[in-house]
C-alpha cells in the first residue's frame, strides 16, 4: 500500500513543506521537537487541512486541496495514537477500548479485544475511568483503542515514550506482526533510535518542517547526525539459516557473512533485519582470538567521516552490506586505518538487535 503525502501548511511562524511516499510497512518520522512531526500526522489523518496538499493511500485520494477533495477523518479510518492520551473521561477503560469497534462493523471479535488487553497489561483496569489511571496506563489504553478500531493504517505519535522497557519489548513485536502479517502501513513518530531501527522500513527525517532526508534506517540512522546522536547504527538483513542445537543461537546468512543472533522463535528461512549500533562495533586489524564476541565480519573500509571532536564514523563494506563503526580518532591513528584497509568488525552477539 503506497502512501503519497504532499503538504504545505503555515501555522504561526512555522511552515511545513513536506512530501514523501512510503510503500507499506513502517515509516518512521524522525526529527527534533517542533520539527512538524505531529502536524504532518494531523494532516495525513485528516484532522488538519493544509493550506495546500495531497494525500493518497494506494489509489484512494484522501485529500487534494486543488481538486477540493477531502475525505473526512472518520472515513479515513486511520488509527491515530496522539502524543497525549486523549481518553474519553466519561467512559470506562473498556468503553474507551471498544469505542472504535462500534464502527469497525463485524470485527466485534472478543478474542481480539482480549489479546490487546493482554498485550497492553490492561486486564485489571478495564472497569476504571481514565481519571484514575497512571500516565503510562493512559497511554497504553490509547494505543489499545487505536489498535482495536480496525484501522486501515496506524498513525502513532511517540506511542511508547511513557512506557518502561519491558512493556516496550512486549509491544514492539506486536507492532511488527501488524506490519508483517496484516501489511498495515504504520507512520511512527519517535525519538528512540532503537525503536525506529527495529520497526522502520523507512525513515523520514524532518527538520524545521522540511524533509531533510529519507531512506532506509541504515541509510539515515547510519549517518551519525546531530539528530540521531549516539544511537547511530546500521541495519542489515539476512535469512535465518540454522539454529545451533547446543547454544540455541540462530545463524543468519547476511551478505557480510554469517552472523549469530540470540533470539526466540525465529523460523528457519525467514528474512530478518538486524540493527548494529555503530558505537558497539569494534574494529581489529587481525582476527581477534579468545574473545567473547561471536560475530566477526571481514571487510574493507569504505569511508571515514569525523562525527564530533575525537570520534570518527567508519563505514566498513562487508560482502555487500555497510556496517558502521564509531571509534575514537586515537584508535584510527593507532591502527593506521584508512580507506581500503582490511579490517574485522567485531560485534557482540548480545549487542545485536533484531530490527
Amino acid at each position: 500500500m503506497m502512501l503519497t503525502v504532499e503538504a504545505r501548511h503555515r501555522q504561526g511562524n512555522f511552515a511545513l513543506d513536506a512530501s514523501f511516499t512510503a510503500e507499506g510497512g513502517v515509516t518512521a518520522i524522525f526529527g527534533r521537537s517542533g520539527s512538524g512531526k505531529s502536524t504532518l500526522l494531523r494532516i495525513i489523518g485528516g484532522l488538519l487541512r493544509p493550506d495546500s496538499g495531497r494525500v493518497a493511500l494506494e489509489d484512494r485520494l484522501l485529500l487534494d486541496t486543488g481538486a477540493r477533495v477531502s475525505i473526512p477523518v472518520h472515513r479515513r479510518r486511520f488509527g491515530h495514537v496522539f502524543q497525549e492520551p486523549r481518553l474519553f473521561p466519561h467512559l470506562s477503560v473498556r468503553q474507551n477500548l471498544n469505542y472504535g469497534r462500534w464502527f469497525a462493523g463485524l470485527s466485534a471479535d472478543r478474542s481480539e479485544f482480549d489479546r490487546v488487553v493482554d498485550l497492553l497489561g490492561l486486564g485489571s483496569l478495564v472497569d476504571r475511568r481514565p481519571g484514575r489511571l497512571s500516565g503510562g496506563e493512559k497511554q497504553r489504553v490509547a494505543i489499545g483503542r487505536a489498535l482495536l478500531s480496525s484501522p486501515r493504517m496506524l498513525l502513532m505519535d511517540e506511542p511508547l515514550s511513557a512506557l518502561d522497557d519491558q512493556r516496550k519489548a512486549e509491544i514492539l513485536p506486536f507492532l511488527e506482526r501488524l506490519r508483517d502479517d496484516l501489511k498495515m502501513p504504520i507512520l511512527y513518530v519517535s525519538h528512540s533510535v532503537p525503536e525506529v531501527g527495529r520497526l522502520a522500513d523507512r525513515v523520514v527525517m524532518l527538520r524545521e518542517g522540511r524533509v531533510d532526508a529519507i531512506g532506509t534506517p541504515s541509510e539515515i540512522l547510519g549517518i551519525a547526525s546531530v539528530e540521531t546522536g549516539r544511537e547511530a547504527g546500521s541495519v542489515i538483513s539476512g535469512r535465518v539459516l540454522r539454529r545451533d542445537p547446543e547454544t540455541g543461537l540462530f545463524g543468519i546468512a547476511t551478505r557480510a557473512g554469517e552472523v549469530l543472533l540470540a533470539s526466540e522463535g525465529l523460523a528457519i528461512g525467514k528474512m530478518v533485519r538486524l540493527r548494529i549500533p555503530a558505537r558497539e562495533v569494534l574494529l581489529a586489524t587481525q582476527r581477534p582470538e579468545g574473545i567473547s564476541a561471536l560475530n566477526v565480519l571481514e571487510g574493507h573500509i569504505a569511508g571515514i567521516v569525523p562525527i564530533r571532536s575525537g570520534t570518527m564514523d567508519i563505514r566498513v563494506l562487508c560482502g555487500g552490506d555497510i556496517v558502521h563503526a564509531q571509534i575514537t580518532e586515537a584508535s584510527v591513528k593507532r591502527l593506521s586505518l584508512a580507506e581500503g584497509t582490511h579490517v574485522f568488525a567485531v560485534i557482540k552477539t548480545v549487542a545485536l538487535d533484531q530490527a
Partner: protein, 233 residues
C-alpha cells in the same frame, strides 16, 4: 396545619404547574441544545443577532413578552393561526400556551448554560473520536453530549425553576383560567391581588418552594453522579 390544607383548585394549579414546567423544559431542550451548539460552534453571519433574539425574553418585561406571544401565537396571530389551521395545534388559552410562554422565558437561561458547557469541552476528544471512525453525529452523541451534560442539567434546572416562577408572560398570553392556564405562580399572584390573600399566597409559595427544592436536589444528585463518573480529568 390548616395553612397547608390545599383546596381542589389549588391542587389543580399545582398539577398544572408541574405539567407546564416539565413540558416546557423538555420540549425546549432539543432547541436549546441546537441553539447552544450553533452559538458556541457556528461561525455564520447573524450569529450575534440570533444570540440577541435568544436573550430577548430576559431583557423584556415579561408582560411585553406575553403580548408578543399573544400577537404571534394567538388565535389570530401569524404563527398561531398557521399552527391551528395546518397542524391543529392551538396554543392560545391552553396549558400548551402556558408551556410555550414558560419555555420562551426560560430559554435564554437554558441556552447560556448549555453553551458554556459546550465551550468548555476539549475539542481534542472529539478529534480522537473521529479518528476512531465516529461520524460527526456519532461524535456528538457519544462524546460532546455526555461531556456537556453538566451544562444541560444546569440549563434544565434553571428553565424548570423559571417555569415554576414565571407568570407575567403566561398570564398575559394565555390568561389565568383555573384548570387550564392558572399555574401555581399565577394563583399566587392572584392571591397577592386581593385583601386577605396573604395566607393563601404564603401557602402556595411554600408548595412552589418545596417542589423546586426537590427538583434542585434531584438535579444536584444527578450532577454529582455524572461528576463522579468523569472526575479526575
Amino acid at each position: 396545619m390548616d395553612v397547608i390544607a390545599l383546596s381542589a383548585e389549588e391542587w389543580t394549579a399545582i398539577r398544572l404547574s408541574l405539567r407546564v414546567s416539565i413540558v416546557a423544559t423538555l420540549a425546549s431542550l432539543p432547541f436549546g441544545i441546537a441553539l447552544a451548539l450553533l452559538l458556541a460552534r457556528g461561525r455564520f453571519w447573524g450569529r450575534s443577532v440570533l444570540n440577541g433574539i435568544v436573550h430577548l425574553p430576559l431583557i423584556l418585561p415579561p408582560v411585553v413578552t406575553g403580548y408578543i406571544l399573544l400577537i404571534l401565537f394567538g388565535r389570530r396571530g401569524a404563527i398561531g393561526s398557521f399552527l391551528a389551521e395546518q397542524l391543529g395545534i392551538v396554543l392560545s388559552f391552553r396549558w400548551t400556551g402556558a408551556a410555550l410562554a414558560c419555555a420562551v422565558m426560560g430559554f435564554p437561561l437554558m441556552v447560556r448554560s448549555i453553551r458554556l458547557s459546550i465551550e468548555a469541552i476539549d475539542a481534542k476528544l472529539e478529534e480522537a473520536a473521529g479518528t476512531l471512525g465516529a461520524s460527526p453525529l456519532f461524535v456528538f452523541l457519544t462524546v460532546t453530549l455526555p461531556l456537556m451534560l453538566p451544562g444541560v442539567i444546569a440549563g434544565m434546572i434553571l428553565a424548570f425553576a423559571k417555569a415554576m416562577g414565571e407568570f407575567g408572560a403566561t398570564i398575559t398570553f394565555v390568561s389565568n383560567i383555573p384548570g387550564e392556564t392558572q399555574t401555581l405562580s399565577a394563583a399566587i399572584y392572584t392571591f397577592t391581588q386581593v385583601p386577605g390573600g396573604d395566607a393563601g399566597a404564603l401557602r402556595l409559595t411554600l408548595v412552589a418552594i418545596a417542589i423546586s427544592m426537590l427538583a434542585l436536589l434531584a438535579s444536584e444528585a444527578l450532577a454529582r453522579v455524572i461528576g463522579k463518573r468523569i472526575e479526575g480529568e
